[in-house]
Amino acid sequence: MIPDTSFTDMITANKAVAIAVVRAKPKVIAAYPICPQTEIVEYVAEFVSQGDLNAEYVRVESENSAITIVAAAEGTGVRTFTATASQGLANMHEVVAAAGGMRLPIVMFVANRTLMSPGGIWPEYSDSMPERDSCWMQVYVQNNQEAFDMIIQAYKIAEDSRILLPIMICGDGYTLTHTTDTVDIPSEKEVDEFLPPYVAKHAFLDIENPIAQGVIVPPSYHMEAKWQMHQAMKKAKEVIKEVNDDFASKFGRDYGGLIRQYKMEDAEYALVVTGSTSSTARVVVDELRSKGEKVGLVILRFFRPFPVTEIQEALKDIKSAGIFDRSISYGSTGQCFIEVRNALYGTSTPLINLIAGLGGRDITEKDISFMFDKIKENETVKVKEPVIFVNTRGVTV
């Protein structure tokens, strides 16, 4: 049994997420196994069967059905949960897009894994990045504690009546999902106070008040619906910050909201980084700082909504910046680079795109040092090709 009191344990991100689900108390959970997420649905099955969590646990036949069941249940007015990765998320895609437009506040954990081809089970963001246009919020977590904390925060953000959008919490496969780390679990009571039971107030299926959801909308009405989706996503920035601050005041952990900065106060060179790579990058920043180099990190947490003004503010005094991407839009650049360059349109800050860790290749301290070397070099030598594949055979940089 999961104690209802607060406790600390050495656990994987998968277990942290499963325990967060117990604390968040969804009523319908749909489960389908896929590496590296599988342990989550295993743990949740165990927690439901031993009475830690009172929920309908539906063991489905595909990811398409998993997301469908949580979407339909959410549309019936209950809190839900599911998890997936890679091909599983691709299999879900059409319903993922439908859920965004239907304004269903689903919370889903994505254990980031490469999307074939080439095949592989190791971390990359090529699974979640294609969903950036599906009207889901996306947050990339750095460690197991943040994975736990963001599941709890995610429900509060998604279910806010100003937003009502689904959210995916993205965590690096294996690096987080299968690696143990210290995680503080707050008590059931503390989480209940922060995240009360969900009471659907907006459109949901109720025989006393019949409504239609997900209907065909002709051109004469279509643009207004899409405009509202856009407005909700923009509004989410404010709610994310509010929930972050509320969480920080209650639980003592402040993630900075949309982005988090590390040693940026007087930094001259910055690396924009996402996910667990942020942890390795912090070690490298400390080392370089000890040698007198003024370097810092901008940890990009939320990719949707994208923190345009926060990025502009964080990078305004920087001499040169690099943007790390763990996926690429082939023939163009990495997706984070596209967004950051877009945010900095009109400024003269030199920017390069550092592609690393594809298909799960290790991103070492040496790789991060190399990234900072390139960022510094780019201040004076403006490269023609902004995309650099780090630690890649046959690529000369």
């Binding site: 929920a55 069941i69 949580v70 019936t76 409504i211 997900g214 009405y221």
Partner: protein, 292 residues
Amino acid sequence: MRLKDLPHKSHFTEGDRACAGCMGSNIAINVMRILGKRTIVSVPPSCMSVFGGTFPNINWDVPYFHMQFANTASTITGIARALKAQGKEDIVVLGMAGDGATADMGLASLSGAAHRDEDILYICYNNEAYENTGIQASGVSPIGVWSSTTPKGNQYAPKDIPRILIAHDVTYCATASTSHIQDFINKVEKAKNLRGFRYIEVLSACTPGWKIDSHLGPDLVKEAVESGYWLLIEYENRILKMNVQPKFTGLKEFLSKQGRFKDITDEQTENLRKQIERKYRIYKNMENNNHL
């Protein structure tokens, strides 16, 4: 419920935008006369999602959830599980899908829901092709039929979805035709009151798809039953029953009234006849061996 007691008022309201003579619309009206107000419905992309579910004109006078093509059974599963979690009982969760969504793309989710014996009612209105996209053969189109993707006649035998579901040992599975209206009412009413996975497949004439005059649908589905083309069966408590004994006459006349069979060859007609008779024998064997 007797036919004379069937209420005129339906929770699929008047004024849908179906073609003249559409039996899909007719089936929806009659199903909702029987199921009534305590129903939540989901319809996948289909003619029905267009003629009865285009904003702002929604004909469903009950909560309505439009989802995707492959996942009707999972959609209504999600609704049913959420209602259970909320302690809301005695609400029929209905999926109303065409044959393409049911027999082809949606078969995996249908199988999953049947396997778990989800508390749902799934009604397939089977017009034997993807009619909404302009008449393309589906997995349940008859042998020899013309469609825009089978210009020389369909070479494959239709999948037998009820038999697939019977292999899942489902709570309730039946076929129906509105020509045999009392049988239809009995089956929908029975399915309404049962709990667990319930499936009814109704033959639905499509005027443009079958290339028939708009008044012909009701006659044709009756002839389909009498000729053995469409079997009326019912599977409940692991017992199979054949509700109407076909006469096995009039198949050629049935085919000749439909433009979709205009170019059927003698060989294709013979293959169709053999397939129908084989299907009948399979069900008859099941009925005869219910004691096993």
